[in-house]
Amino acid sequence: MGNNLIEKYYRTERLPHIWCPGCGNGIVLRAIVKAIDNLGLNKDDICVVSGIGCSSRATGYLDFNTVHTTHGRALAFATGIKLANPNLHVIVITGDGDCAAIGGNHLIHAARRNIDITTVVFNNNIYGMTGGQYSPTTPTGDKGTTAPYGNIDPNFDLCELAKSAGATYVSRSTVYGANMITKQVEEGIKNKGFSFIEALTICPTYYGRKNKKGDAPEMINQLKEMTINVDAYYKLPQEKREGRIVIGELYRVQREEYIEKYNRLINSF
């Protein structure tokens, strides 16, 4: 292979990856790797931790320190890794089910502590690995194999959740604008604290088919149409904001990072 970026950061012998044709996960993953490349970080200093699900398989393909953990627990493992070795840049790759359902509590508390971990959620609105069950981010009314008559659950706004819980950098982007994902991951890694990046991606195989969303290119175009940049959004009159998904940098605040606080305690003795 002659693709420099892929060659440099992937375990290329393990490609092609397991993701379905048209799955957006590969796009998000490349965007993350591009951010690491742009920042010029040393591969040995990066630890990527994932949970269980389609997106969490990402760690297997990356040539960093990689830990593929149990369902929902990536942030709990990552907390142990970061606290035990603060020199590592810890990046968590997770999915909407992994992070918002079974791992929801870990997300809230990692954000509350403001521990220096960058979390990237690959949100495809479905449980793909198990064959298309509705997730906490499946839009109300949409179908999954466990919502054959349409999902009656309200869906989660993960960025609002992360912000409320205490994350100090929160942003959203889509696989339509993969360069924005890269920019946001760079900002997330640079932020000394808990950073939360929601990357909206596509699952043509399950979510798309079940909800008649068309093929992968069509679904990527739908992401473009559904979303609006944060600056443009706030210029819209209230009545025109309804139903639009806001992308861009949504929140940023300064707050002391968890390990810095702990180190202050250690140094006080």
């Binding site: 292979m1 002659g2 970026l5 892929i6 490609l15 796009i27 339509y176 993969a178 990527i220």
Partner: protein, 66 residues
Amino acid sequence: MKALKSEKLNVEEELCKGCGICVTFCPKNVLKIEDGKVAIVDIDSCIQCGLCELRCPDYAIYLGGK
């Protein structure tokens, strides 16, 4: 515009899963799916915008490289 043509467009056929994303987003109709894989059908029209590489989920198409 010829000066821009410094980077070659490459395809890794064994990585391509034929999803057609690159074909759809190529602004110059350089690409086509043939027998389930991407094929370069009009390289002279390529403007090296890199959209195919950016949105290829399978790392099967890219500009430049070794």
